[in-house]
Amino acid sequence: MDTIPQATAAALHLFASLDPALLTVVGRSLAVSTSACLLAFGFGVLAGVWLAVSRFSGRGAVLALINTLLALPSVVVGLLVYLLLSRSGPLGFLGWLFSFQAMGLAQTILVVPIVTALTRQAIDDADRVQGEQLASLGATPLMRGLLLAWDERYALLTVLLAAFGRAISEVGAVMIVGGNIEGFTRVMTTAIALETSKGDLPLAIALSIVLLLVVLALNALIAALRSWRERVDGAATQVARVVVA
C-alpha cells in the first residue's frame, strides 16, 4: 500500500508550501473554538463558582445534571442548535444557521458543562480548605468564590485548555449547524471527514496532523502548568516542613 506514504508526503508538501486552503481551514477552526471557549469560560466559571459556594434545595439535582451534560454527544448539541437557529426556530430571526456564529454557539453549549463542572469541583475543594478563613475576614459567599477562583487561576487555566481540546476536536455539531461550506464554515474536523470520503487523503492527513499537533500542544501546556504549580506549591510546603522539623 503506497497510499499512506504518498499521501503523507503530499501533506508535508502542503505544509511546506503553506497551502492557502490548509491555512484557511486551520485558522477558521482555531477562531471558532477560541471564541467558543472564551465565551464558555466566562459563563462556566461564574456558574461553577456560584454552584460551589451556594447552598439551595435542588443543588444536588443541578450538579447531577451538569455532570450528565459532560457526556453530551456533539451531534445532539448540533441538532439542538440547528432547531433553535432554523428559519422556523425561536432564534431563526438571527439568520445564524450555517455561519461562524452557529458553530461558535454549538461549541459553546458543548463545553459550558465541562467548564462549569470542573470549576465547581476546583472551587469546592479550595473552599473546604480556605473558605472559613475568607469568611472570617468578611467575604460574602460570592466574593469568597471569586477570590478562590482567582486563587485557583492556574487550575482554571487547565480547565480552559481542556475545554478547548474538546471544542476543536468535535465534528458532529459544527457539521450540522455549519454545513461544511468551503471557504465559509469548513473547519478542520469537517474538512477531514469530507476529504476522506472524497478520497483526497493528502489534505485530510495534513489537517489530521495539525489537529494532533494542536491537541498535543494543549496537553503539553497542561502538563507544564501542572508541573509548575506543583513546583511552586511544593517549594512552599518544603519550607514549612523544614521549619516544623
Binding site: 475576614l137 477570590l147 511552586v232 521549619v243
Partner: protein, 250 residues
C-alpha cells in the same frame, strides 16, 4: 479535687471581676452536632470584653468547634449564642491559609473586604507587615513563607483590621519554640493596649500561663471547668491534668 469537679454554673473570681465589663459573648446550653456526633454539648459561658481566655483539652474535645461558634462560622444545633453585632472579630487558624498572592495583598485583602479602598488598604498593610517584622517579604508569594512567617502574616492581617476580638485556634501548633515565642510576643502587644478580647485554644501550658487570664477546660464536647488562671495552674499540679497537655509544658 479534680478539674471536672468544678460546677459549671459557679462564677470564679475572674468572672466576678469581669461582670462590670461589657459582655462579648454569651452562650446558653449550646450544642453542635456533626452528623450523629455531638462536637459540643450544653455549653454555657459568658466572655467579657478584654478577657484573655484559653481553651484547653485533648484533641476532639470541642475547642475548635467552640471557636467557630464564637466567630459565627457555624450556628449551633441547640441553644443560643449572643454576639455583639458591631464588633470586629478575627479568627486565626492553626495553619493560616494564604491566597496565592503577595504577602502585602493577603494583608490588604481583609481591609478591602470590609470596604477600604485598595490603595489605603495596601498602605495600612505595609505598616502592619513592618509591625510584625515582615516588611522585607511584602512582595513575596505568601505561600512561600515559612509556617512561623505565615502565622505572623495572619497576625498582621488581624491587627490591621483593628479587631476587638481575636479568636485563635492553636496558633503556634506547628512552630518551633523561637517562632512560637515571637508570635506570643506579638499577640501580647496586640492585645495589651485596649479592651481587646482574646480567646485561644492551646495544648501548651506555658503559652496558657503567658497569655491567659482565664482557662476553660473541655472534654468530650463539654465544659468541665472554667477557672481563673491562677486556680487552674494550682490544679494542674496533678499529673492527670498535665497529661491533657500532651507533655507540652514549655
Amino acid at each position: 479535687m479534680n478539674l471536672a469537679d468544678k460546677p459549671q454554673g459557679a462564677l470564679s473570681n475572674t468572672q466576678r471581676e469581669n461582670v462590670a465589663k461589657p459582655t462579648m459573648f454569651r452562650l446558653e446550653q449550646v450544642g453542635v452536632r456533626y452528623g450523629s456526633t455531638w462536637a459540643l454539648q450544653s455549653a454555657s459561658l459568658s466572655i467579657g470584653a478584654g478577657e484573655r481566655v484559653a481553651l484547653v483539652g485533648p484533641n476532639g474535645s470541642g475547642k475548635t468547634t467552640l471557636l467557630r461558634v464564637l466567630n459565627g462560622l457555624i450556628e449551633p444545633s441547640t441553644g443560643t449564642v449572643q454576639r455583639p453585632a458591631t464588633t470586629r472579630q478575627t479568627l486565626l487558624f492553626q495553619r493560616p491559609y494564604m491566597l496565592r498572592m503577595t504577602a502585602l495583598w493577603n494583608v490588604a485583602l481583609g481591609l478591602w473586604l470590609r470596604g477600604a479602598r485598595w490603595r489605603d488598604a495596601c498602605k495600612q498593610a505595609n505598616e502592619a507587615l513592618a509591625r510584625v517584622g515582615l516588611a522585607a517579604f511584602a512582595q513575596r508569594n505568601a505561600r512561600t513563607l515559612s509556617a512561623g512567617q505565615q502565622q505572623r502574616l495572619a497576625l498582621a492581617r488581624a491587627w490591621v483590621l483593628a479587631s476587638d476580638v481575636m479568636l485563635l485556634d492553636e496558633p503556634t501548633a506547628s512552630m518551633d519554640p523561637d517562632a512560637r515565642l515571637e508570635v506570643e510576643t506579638l499577640l501580647g502587644e496586640f492585645t495589651s493596649g485596649h479592651l481587646q478580647t482574646l480567646v485561644f485554644s492551646s495544648h501548651t501550658l506555658g503559652q496558657v500561663r503567658r497569655l491567659a487570664s482565664r482557662v476553660i477546660c473541655l472534654q468530650d464536647g463539654r465544659i468541665r471547668a472554667d477557672l481563673p488562671l491562677q486556680e487552674f495552674l494550682e490544679r494542674t499540679a496533678s499529673v492527670e491534668s498535665k497529661l491533657s497537655f500532651e507533655g507540652e509544658l514549655g
